[in-house]
Every structure is written in structure tokens, then in C-alpha cells.
């Protein structure tokens, strides 16, 4: 909605300057998105009258004009083809600057002096497209007037961003009411002139019949016949006001209906009466075999959900949305039937949506118009049609209004208002505030105000809406700042704290946090790689864990992907099922941008379908990914794999998780020989692996790029760091022993450690592998492992012999179980 300062000022004496009005409206809840001056850059342009034309002599297409500029005559050279004597023109005098930036100077054109310039509409910024000639001004303009005054461009326009509850301000009178209600000055509204009321004998009975077949969808319908209209352009002031409001002038009839709509917020429609069959208007649902070509020349297939205005044989308009082309007012129209009505908001909204046809009219009906002002708006239009379209009105208005609006009655307790706002306003003052806004308000008992809601405030449904009105008039910014008391301290839940801790630990490992969209392309290059991962790791049901996992996952991988019903684009058309694709893309993007090494993590939610009509499962995951790591601990050309493995192990350790283990696994997304699963006892918690070489190649990643995904909820459930209790620092010395052994290369290191730990008594407190070697001097198919074992007794100093005994035990077991050869023995 755009409103004009001058237009508004014609109804109410605006208590402030144009710039202040912008602030006033915004603070009243009518947010001004943009404010502009209509005559921007034109303040110095004047009007003139061409009183003489001579040929230039030195140039065929130039004319030397004598122009009466009011106080003086000027000689101006002009090359426009439409220059003519007695023409009123726009003149830029020397020293002025045009809106485009051009500065006009006293000059000579081919030897003849020219003092000024006669302008075209585009040079003045009044038309976008280039004009072929100079601007021809209306004849009634007097030479010497300022152009902005002559063309009524000395006006400010406010573009309002109105929320749905400010529908009353979709008309200038509604805005005037707001100003009256919110201004401190005692302002009155100058209501527009109307055609006199129908009572008395001035008008004959109407000859048109109206039948509302569906009073639910049309609560009021009025129409009136206007004869002998003369179709022509509207007067300049009216055109200008429409333009200020952002509506293109068409002809006087259409313009007047639009003008009154912009005054009263009441959409009107004018039919060519002679194209209506049988002097009858029927408001009914359409039949499914009917069609209507609307004013925008679109053919619309109708259905029974759509309300139409019809004559005896055909629909003539989409009720409240757009008229039909078959009854359009044209140059030859002589009689018009003026419609002013009120339609059901929901039905209009559905129709407008159905046909993707949002009009000025449907926009207003969707937000409910003032049903009590329908007749008044019609009389206003009639008044203007008589004056500016030569219309003759001899008949009464038909007013079909089966159930007149009854003012809603509400009660307001001043104490409650004050308690809700944190202010102290007297009841009497509240009555004044409400009255100023157009409500009827009276003190009923000492503590109650009876308020009746006028037709233009149908947005007010209950007490809370009235509280807002009081707050608005009082001024939101006048309400004091206070703070609610807190009965309990604030804080995070243990799980939320753990989440922060996990993030901190991962950052401490050198991983950078990333955030990827949870919306992904329908099909991407990684989807196929995830199928076996989904089946074996994502679709795991565990009845003991959180509630989101009680339902069943889809068996089929493709069905498990949660798709959007109405995606905006292919790129964002389904939910992510894993964090891995996003992380791979992040590394790929950075790799392409010449980043050589990067390691990242993401904590985020993934989604999997649990069958049609079931809520999809939402699971929080931790994703890790690394490329280009430098340190290759085991010389296995797997720096990223072991970097991430170390980060994950540190995470498990810092969270005090016990009984975790890694086992070899095989998944399409990973290198077949370089992937492991993380397990807590027998629960699968996540996977880690080097990306499959095909992926590395496709995504232009450095070789050995690795990634992992862990289940955050399972990790949190297993975390024991909150229950840590202090263990006494051992008082007795420990004894450390190293053991180097040769074993078959396919025996996992993990098995060796486990066997050693099992073989020894409690005094073995740690077993670590500190060296790994394969290659020269080691037989084919074998590997060398170096084990460091630390023995300690909490109650006494260990004797060498005790430790030797344990070490011998361990050696025996390793020899037995793995045919290990102890080196250096």
C-alpha cells in the first residue's frame, strides 16, 4: 500500500512534516518501507508557453522558439518534432540541473542563442522509456508556474509494509483514523462528499434484481445503475493520486472505482450494464462446466468452490477477485452498474490462490473489509461518477444485506491492562484512547470498560487486541523497562553441556567446525555410496536408546531418504541422511581453492524415513573429515586416518567412555582395506575410514583423505565424565618393560593388546604399541610390533621377579595364540 501525503492531508490536518510522518507511521505499527518525493529533482523546472516559432536557418531539424515563462520571455532552440505554438511546455532555465545530472547552460546552437531547454518527460525522470518529443502539458496550466505545482508533483509517497491486522489502513481514510487516534492534537476528519442518501423520493426503485445464493460467501451485495456516462481520462489530480498510490490511471470510470477503494479500502467494480443479461445479478458458486475470461485476458476454468457474479446466463466476474472481460467497461460504454460488496475472506483467498491471481481487490477482501461502509463507499463513487464522468443517477441502490453486522461487544478491565503492560493508566484515559481510535467505549462498572467494535476494526477479536491498542496510543517506548523475577537459576542440561564439551574437545584436536545445510540435492554423486552404510549403521533400531529410535526404519535405502513435497529447487529437495557427503564437499571446495590441509568437524542432525505417515527419525551425529595431514605415525601412508582416529579416541577418553573398541569393516564409501567401526560393547556407534579412491578422484581431494561419522546420542549416553571420582596417585614405583615381537601381518594390533592384558594379572596397568614396522629385515607376511607394558601395584613396591613372571606369561600367550616370535630373545 502506498499513501500520499497530500491526499491524506485532505482528510486530516497532518500534525507533522513529511519526514516526521514517516517516523510517526512506523511507530504506529504502519511500517514505512520507503518514502519518496514525487518531484525529485524537479523543483527548479518551470512551465512555459510557446508563443512563437521560427526556423533555425542553419539546421533543418531545429526551431527557434519564443517561450513565455511568466515573468520573462526566452528564446530557446528546440529540435522536438512535436513543438508547436501555444503548447504548454516544461522549461529548464540556465543553471538548473536535470534529474539525470545534466546541467543546463546558456548556450549557442549553430550560431543562435538558446537560454534554457524545453524538456521531454524522460529527461525529467517522469517516464522510464525514451520519449520521441517534448512533454506536452495540459492547456489550463499558466506559464511561469513551477512544474511540480502545475503537475501536482509536490507530494510525498510512503510505501507501507502492512501486517495482516492493519488491513484498515489499505485506504487513506483508515490511515487518517490512525493519525486521529494516535496524535496528541484534537484532530477531526473531513469526510469525503457523497451522493445524498436514498431516503426521500429523489430516486426511483432499482430496476436490477440481486440474488445472493450463498450468503455465507457473500454477506452483502450492493449495486447501482449509473447512466449516460462519458468515458474519458480522469482529471489530473485524480490521476496523480492514483499514480502516487502505485495504480495506473485507465479511464474515469475505472479510476474512480480505484480511487474510492484507496479511500475506503472498499473494492468496487463497474460492469457495462448493457452487456449484462436480464437485469439480474446472481451471486453463486460456479458450475464446473463454466469458464470465464477475466480482465487480464486469461481464460479461467471454474469450479464449484469459486464464487462468481453472474447474470441470468453467464458468470460476469470472479467475485471479489477480478471482473470478466465480457462485461468490461469500454470506450463505448454508456451505462454502468457499480458493485460494492463484501465477500468471505477465506473463499476469496482460496480463489486468488487457485488462479494465482492476487489483485488489489482480493488482497483487501482476504483481510476483511468494513462491511458497514459498503454503501457509503458506493455513494462516494456515485458522487464522483456524476462529477467526473457525467453520470446520471436516477435509481436507488440495491442493497442485499441479509444479516447486518452487529457490533461485537468486549469488556476491558483497566487493572488487567495495566498488569499486562506494566503501566498505570486510568480507566478514563483508556476510554479516551479507544474512542480516539473509533471504538465506542464506556465505563460500565468501576472496574470494567464496555467496548463495542466498529465494522472497520474486525481484526479486534478479544481483550488482548484492545490491550495492544492501549499500548500503541500510550507509546511502546513509554512503557518502562523491567525484568521478570527468576524463581530458578538458568542453565544447560547435562546433555547440552556435554554437547559444548564435545565441540571444545574436537576443536582442541585441531578440527575446524563447519555447518552444512540439512537440505541436499535429490540425487548426488555420493548417494549410491551410502546404501550399505545406511543398512548396517544408520537404520539400526535400538529400543533402549532415545525415543526417536523406537520406530522402524525403511528396509529400502531409497525409501529411507526424506524428500520434500514442494522443493524450491532440485538442489535442496531432500533431507540429509548422513553428515559425510557435506563434509566431503567442504574438503573438496577448499581443496579446489588451494587449501592443502584441512580437518573439520560438524555436529548436526540427520534424517531418515520411518515409513509413510510416520514422523521421520532425527538423529544427532558428529562428523569428522581430514585431508593433507602431515604426520604419518605408523608409516602406513595413512596420516588422515590415524589423525581422525586419534581425535576420536581423545574424545572418548575425555568423555570417560569405557569399553570402546575398533573393528575392521567394509563399506562402499571407504577404501576396502582402510575402514573401521567403533563399538561400545556390541553397539555400533560409528565408522571411520579413508575415502574410497573413486570418491577422492571424483572430488579432486588429496589422496588418503579420510572421514568419520559417530552417533552423538550414543556417545553422550556412554559418557561418564560427570561421575569421575579421584583415584589416589600411586605411591609405589612402576616398572616398565618393552617387548618386540614378530607376528603375521593380518593379526590386528588390538587383538595383541587384548591378549596381553588378559594374560597378565591386575598389575599390568597399561599396554601400548609404540612401534610398528614392516619391510626390510622382516620376513614376508610378518610385521614387527613393539609393546610397552607398565606394571604397578597400588599396595607395595613390585619385585623384579614378579614382573618377569608376568612378562613370561604374556610371551607364552602371544607365542601360543599368534605364533609370535619374540625378538632379541
Amino acid at each position: 500500500m502506498q499513501i500520499s501525503y497530500n491526499w491524506l492531508n485532505s482528510y486530516i490536518d497532518i500534525p507533522c512534516e513529511p519526514e516526521e510522518l514517516k517516523y510517526f507511521l512506523t511507530m504506529a505499527g504502519l511500517e514505512v518501507e520507503e518514502m519518496s518525493y514525487q518531484g525529485e529533482g524537479l523543483d527548479k523546472i518551470i512551465t512555459g508557453e510557446v508563443i512563437g516559432i521560427k526556423d533555425h536557418g542553419n539546421a533543418d531539424n531545429l526551431k527557434v522558439c519564443q517561450v513565455d515563462c511568466g515573468e520573462e520571455e526566452r528564446q530557446i532552440v528546440c529540435g522536438a518534432p512535436n513543438i508547436a505554438e501555444n503548447l504548454r511546455v516544461a522549461v529548464a532555465l540556465p543553471g538548473t540541473r536535470l534529474p539525470g545530472g545534466l546541467k543546463i547552460e546558456e548556450t549557442e546552437l549553430r550560431g543562435i542563442k538558446s537560454s534554457g531547454m524545453i524538456c521531454s518527460a524522460d529527461e525529467l525522470g517522469l517516464k522510464e522509456e525514451r520519449q520521441s518529443g517534448i512533454m506536452e502539458l495540459p492547456e489550463e496550466i499558466e506559464a511561469g508556474e513551477l512544474l511540480v505545482e502545475a503537475l501536482l508533483l509536490n507530494d510525498y509517497v510512503y510505501k507501507l509494509d502492512l501486517t495482516p491486522n492493519y488491513a484498515r489502513c489499505l485506504g487513506h481514510l483508515g490511515v487518517a483514523r490512525e493519525i486521529r487516534g494516535l496524535s496528541d492534537n484534537n484532530l477531526e476528519i473531513n469526510w469525503p462528499d457523497l451522493l445524498p442518501e436514498d431516503n426521500g423520493k429523489a430516486y426511483q426503485e432499482a430496476s436490477t434484481e440481486v440474488e445472493i445464493q450463498d450468503p455465507e460467501l457473500c454477506q452483502r451485495y450492493t449495486c447501482r445503475l449509473i447512466e449516460d456516462v462519458e468515458i474519458k481520462p480522469s482529471p489530473l489530480w485524480l490521476q496523480r493520486r492514483l499514480e502516487a498510490a502505485g495504480i495506473r490511471p485507465i479511464n474515469n470510470i475505472v479510476d474512480i472505482t480505484n480511487y474510492v477503494m484507496l479511500e475506503y479500502n472498499q473494492p468496487l467494480h463497474a460492469f457495462d450494464y448493457d452487456k449484462i443479461n436480464g437485469r439480474k445479478i446472481i451471486i453463486r458458486r460456479a458450475n464446473s462446466d463454466e469458464r470465464l475470461i477475466t480482465l487480464d485476458d486469461e481464460k479461467r476454468q471454474l469450479t464449484p468452490e469459486v464464487l462468481v457474479i453472474a447474470d441470468r446466463e453467464k458468470p460476469v466476474g470472479l467475485a471479489g477477485v477480478m471482473g470478466g472481460a465480457n462485461t468490461e467497461v469500454t470506450k463505448s460504454t454508456n451505462r454502468v452498474l457499480l458493485e460494492a460488496a463484501s465477500f468471505d475472506a477465506v473463499n476469496i483467498r482460496r480463489t486468488a490462490k487457485k488462479y494465482a491471481l492476487s489483485s488489489e481487490s482480493s488482497h483487501r477482501f482476504e483481510r476483511k473489509i468494513d462491511i458497514t461502509a459498503v454503501a457509503e463507499a458506493s455513494r462516494r463513487a456515485c458522487y464522483l461518477l456524476e462529477r467526473y464522468a457525467g453520470g446520471k443517477i436516477t435509481e436507488k441502490m440495491v442493497d442485499c444485506y441479509p444479516e447486518p453486522y452487529e457490533k461485537k461487544k468486549l469488556q476491558l478491565e483497566p487493572d488487567r491492562v495495566n498488569n499486562l503492560l506494566g503501566v498505570e493508566i486510568a480507566g478514563e484515559e483508556m476510554i479516551d484512547m479507544l474512542t480516539g481510535l473509533g471504538f465506542e467505549a464506556n465505563m460500565k462498572e468501576a472496574s470494567r470498560i464496555a467496548v463495542s467494535i466498529p465494522g472497520f476494526r474486525r481484526d479486534v477479536e478479544g481483550e488482548a487486541d484492545l490491550v495492544e491498542e492501549i499500548a500503541r496510543v500510550y507509546g511502546y517506548n513509554n512503557i518502562p523497562y523491567t525484568r521478570p523475577a527468576s524463581a530458578e537459576p538458568g542453565g544447560r542440561t547435562p546433555e547440552q553441556k556435554a554437547s559444548l564439551k564435545i565441540n571444545r574437545i574436537l576443536r582442541g584436536q585441531g578440527l575446524e567446525e563447519v555447518k552444512n545445510f540439512s537440505l541436499r540435492p535429490e540425487e548426488d554423486d555420493l548417494t549410491d555410496y551410502l546404501e550399505d552404510y545406511y543398512k548396517n549403521y544408520l537404520a539400526v533400531t535400538d529400543s533402549k536408546s532415545s525415543s526417536s529410535r523406537e520406530d522402524s526404519f525403511e528396509d529400502n535405502f531409497k525409501d529411507s531418504i526424506v524428500k520434500l513435497k514442494n522443493p524450491l529447487s532440485q538442489a535442496f529437495s531432500r533431507m540429509r541422511i548422513s553428515l559425510l557427503p557435506g563434509l566431503i564437499e567442504v574438503l573438496s571446495l577448499n581443496s579446489r581453492k588451494q587449501v592443502k590441509d584441512m580437518s573439520t568437524y560438524e555436529t548436526g542432525r540427520v534424517f531418515a524415513s520411518q515409513g509413510k505417515r510416520n514422523r521421520p527419525a532425527e538423529t544427532d551425529k558428529i562428523g569428522l573429515a581430514s585431508m593433507g595431514a602431515a604426520h604419518d605415525t605408523w608409516n602406513l601412508s595413512a596420516p588422515d586416518y590415524f589423525y581422525l582416529k586419534g581425535a576420536a579416541e581423545n574424545l572418548l577418553d575425555k568423555l570417560e567412555i569405557e569399553a570402546w573398541s575398533w573393528q575392521r569393516t567394509k563399506l562402499d564409501i571407504f577404501h576396502p582395506g582402510r575402514a573401521a567401526e567403533l563399538k561400545f560393547k556390541d553397539k555400533r556407534v560409528g565408522v571411520l575410514g579413508e575415502l574410497h579412491p573413486d570418491i577422492i578422484e571424483e572430488f579432486k581431494l588429496p589422496v588418503r583423505t579420510s572421514a568419520a561419522e559417530l552417533d552423538k546420542e550414543l556417545i553422550y549416553q556412554a559418557a561418564g565424565y560427570e561421575k569421575i571420582s579421584y583415584q589416589q596417585i600411586p605411591r609405589f614405583p612402576s616398572i616398565s618393560r618393552d617387548l618386540a615381537l614378530l607376528i603375521a601381518e593380518d593379526i590386528p594390533a588390538r587383538d595383541v593388546i587384548e591378549a596381553a592384558e588378559e594374560a597378565s594379572a591386575d598389575i599390568l596397568i597399561s599396554t601400548e604399541i609404540f612401534d610398528f614396522y614392516q619391510g626390510e629385515q622382516i620376513p614376508e607376511g610378518q610385521k614387527s610390533l613393539a609393546l610397552n607394558m607398565v606394571f604397578q601395584d597400588h599396595n607395595k613396591t613390585l619385585k623384579e621377579e614378579e614382573v618377569e613372571k608376568q612378562v613370561d606369561n604374556i610371551i607364552e600367550v602371544l607365542e601360543d595364540e599368534f605364533q609370535a616370535k619374540i625378538r632379541g630373545k
Binding site: 512506523t26 511507530m27 504506529a28 505499527g29 518501507e33 501486517t163 495482516p164 491486522n165 492493519y166 483467498r349 482460496r350 499486562l420 503492560l421 506494566g422 503501566v423 478479544g462 481483550e463 488482548a464 487486541d465 490491550v467 495492544e468 511502546y476 518502562p480 523491567t482 525484568r483 521478570p484 523475577a485 527468576s486 524463581a487 530458578e488 538458568g490 542453565g491 544447560r492 559444548l500 574436537l506 576443536r507 582442541g508 575446524e512 567446525e513 563447519v514 555447518k515 552444512n516 545445510f517 540439512s518 524428500k563 520434500l564 514442494n566 529447487s569 538442489a571 535442496f572 567442504v586 571446495l589 577448499n590 587449501v595 584441512m598 573439520t600 534424517f607 509413510k612 514422523r615 532425527e618
Partner: protein
């Protein structure tokens, strides 16, 4: 020869040699020559037998003095030499102390989680707890329970992404309000940060996936003034005290009265610039008193309790706080961007 004379001779000889000894080896030689098993001092002791008894104590004393003096002098010089040596060694260990330090790789925090954590901490200090909810919602929690009926123009305020006829991606974090009220008796004081979705094309200022932080306070005497006080503290903390806040009437279906919260423009401080569309103010959140219908739908009696709610875009606040001009940077994960946040 007189033994006394001999002592003096030894003394003189020692002093002569000592004066020329400047390293550990020469000192050691001197020590052996005078104090060694067959050294000169030892020999003098051997001659003690051949002198008269009455002279013995005096000479013995002299001899001891000599021995002590030699020892002291040797030791003192040895100490100096060692001191020198140490000094020299330390001098040789001199390094270029301006070479770069050994840095352990540390990770960075994504600006969105940095700001979320900061906001959470501000509200926690004011007594708030953190609530969470699902990202997949249904019509009831996302719309109906928030007083957003079907076929109401308020639905136009946000374009919804649907999964099917039953489920949709939440368009705001407000459903968490409803879920919290359903299962908690007042007093309620929560914030709910989270991810939300809209059917918006991705461009410099719009994104189909973004983040909100919702707040809800319900108790028996909550006022609009409490809403203003709480929000102004948050704004002060996150943007700095020099920024002013203003509240202006607005519309949200689930609050009444509703208020839009503006903060004075962080670039122009109210003078008007392109960031604030020449208004001098930046819209940062919607807020208001919880609509009585919303309270009663969630089982809270609006005659006994009142509350306020607010919601802000975490992405928007992040952009404003760091002066980032393109929302896409928040999901591109370019390392050169990420590493700027500490």
C-alpha cells in the same frame, strides 16, 4: 738446610707457578706437584722427624697453613675457570629468539555456533534454560497451536517446505514454545535455539536453511515491561551498550500486543545508510505478549498467567555482529572465512 727456609722456598715456587696457571690442566699439575702423594708439601711433612721437638708445633702449624693456602688458592681459581667455562658454553648456546614458535594446530568455531553460544550464555545469566524440539513438525505445532489458522493471510508471512500432507519442516522455532508449555507448569523461562526452514531461494540475504533463537517466559505477573527489559539487556550484551533499542507495534499471530524490535544501525548509528535502508534502524527480532489463545491451547489459563515471547534470526545477528554481507558465506565453509572466528 733450614726447614723454615724450605717452606718459604716451596711457597715462592708455588706462587710463581700459580701466577701462570690459567686452565684446569695447569692447576691440576700444580696440585700434584705440591699436594700429590710425592708432592713438595708431603715431603716437607716427612722432614718433620728431623727437627727438634720444641720446634715441631710451630713448624707443623706453618706447614698446615701452607697446605691450606695452596688448596684454597687452587680451588678458588678452579672455580673461576669453571664459571668462565660455563659462561662461555651458555654464550655458545645462543639462539635466534625471534624464530616462530611451535604452534599446536587448534580448531576454530563456526561463527553461527559462536553467536549461539554467546546468546545462550546471556540468557542463562538472566535465568533462562535451553529447550529443544524436532526440526520436522506438523501443522498443529507449527501453525495451529500458534494461532495461525489455515487460509489466513498470516500464512503468507512464511513459505513452508512440506514433506507430505502430515509433516513439514518447521518454519520457526516457535513450536518449541508450544511443546514446552504443554509439558511444563509455569513459571517457564526458556530459550530455544535451532535450525529452521523456509521455501526461499538462496541469495545474498535469503537462505532456505537458517537458525532462530526463540524465547518464552510465562508466569503469573509477566508484563510488556519485562519483555522490554529482557530484550534490551540482550541487545546491550551482544551489540554493546552504545546501541539503543526501540519497540514498535507489529503483528505476529501468536503474540498480542506484538512488537518489532529495532536496534540503532551498527554502521551509521542512526544517520541512515544502505545497510539500514536509510532508516537508521535495523530490525532484529519479533516479540510480544503471548496470545491468550496460544496459552489456553497449550493448557495454561490466560486469566492466571501471562507471558512474553520473542524470536530472532541467529544468522542475521551473526551477519550484523561481524559485518558479513552475504549469508551464503555461513554455509560455504571456506577455510579462509572460518579461520577468522576465534
Amino acid at each position: 738446610m733450614n726447614i723454615e727456609e724450605t717452606i718459604n722456598e716451596v711457597k715462592e715456587e708455588f706462587q710463581k707457578m700459580f701466577a701462570e696457571a690459567h686452565d684446569s690442566e695447569s692447576l691440576e699439575k700444580i696440585r700434584i706437584r705440591f699436594l700429590g702423594k710425592n708432592g713438595r708439601v708431603k715431603k716437607l711433612y716427612g722432614k718433620m722427624g728431623s727437627i727438634p721437638d720444641e720446634s715441631k708445633p710451630v713448624l707443623g702449624k706453618e706447614l698446615n697453613k701452607l697446605k691450606q693456602q695452596i688448596t684454597r688458592q687452587l680451588e678458588a681459581r678452579q672455580e673461576i675457570i669453571e664459571e668462565e667455562k660455563k659462561k662461555q658454553q651458555l654464550e655458545e648456546e645462543r639462539i635466534d629468539v625471534t624464530l616462530p614458535g611451535t604452534r599446536i594446530k587448534t580448531g576454530s568455531q563456526h561463527p553461527l555456533s559462536l553467536v549461539t553460544e554467546e546468546l545462550e550464555d546471556i540468557f542463562i545469566s538472566m535465568g533462562f534454560k535451553i529447550a529443544e524440539g524436532p526440526e520436522v513438525e506438523d501443522e498443529y505445532y507449527n501453525f495451529k497451536a500458534l494461532n495461525i489458522p489455515e487460509d489466513h493471510p498470516a500464512r503468507d508471512l512464511q513459505d513452508t517446505l512440506y514433506l507430505d500432507d502430515l509433516y513439514l519442516l518447521r518454519t520457526h522455532t516457535s513450536p518449541v514454545q508450544v511443546r514446552t508449555m504443554e509439558k511444563t507448569k509455569p513459571p517457564i523461562k526458556i530459550i530455544a535455539p535451532g535450525r529452521v526452514y523456509r521455501a526461499d531461494e538462496l541469495d545474498a540475504s535469503h537462505s532456505p536453511v537458517f537458525h532462530q533463537l526463540e524465547g518464552l517466559v510465562v508466569d503469573d505477573k509477566i508484563t510488556f515491561g519485562d519483555l522490554k527489559g529482557t530484550i534490551s539487556i540482550m541487545v546491550e550484551q551482544i551489540f554493546g551498550e552504545e546501541h539503543s533499542v526501540r519497540f514498535r507495534p507489529s503483528y505476529f499471530p501468536f503474540t498480542e500486543p506484538s512488537a518489532e524490535v529495532d536496534v540503532s544501525c551498527i554502521v551509521c548509528e542512526g544517520k541512515g545508510c544502505s545497510l539500514c535502508s536509510r532508516t537508521g534502524w535495523l530490525e532484529i527480532m519479533g516479540s510480544g505478549m503471548v496470545h491468550p489463545k496460544v496459552l489456553s491451547m497449550s493448557g495454561i489459563d490466560p486469566r492466571s498467567y501471562s507471558g512474553f515471547a520473542f524470536g530472532m534470526g541467529i544468522d542475521r545477528i551473526t551477519l550484523l555482529k561481524y559485518g558479513i554481507d552475504d549469508i551464503r558465506l555461513l554455509q560455504e565453509n571456506n577455510r579462509r572465512f572460518l579461520q577468522q572466528f576465534k
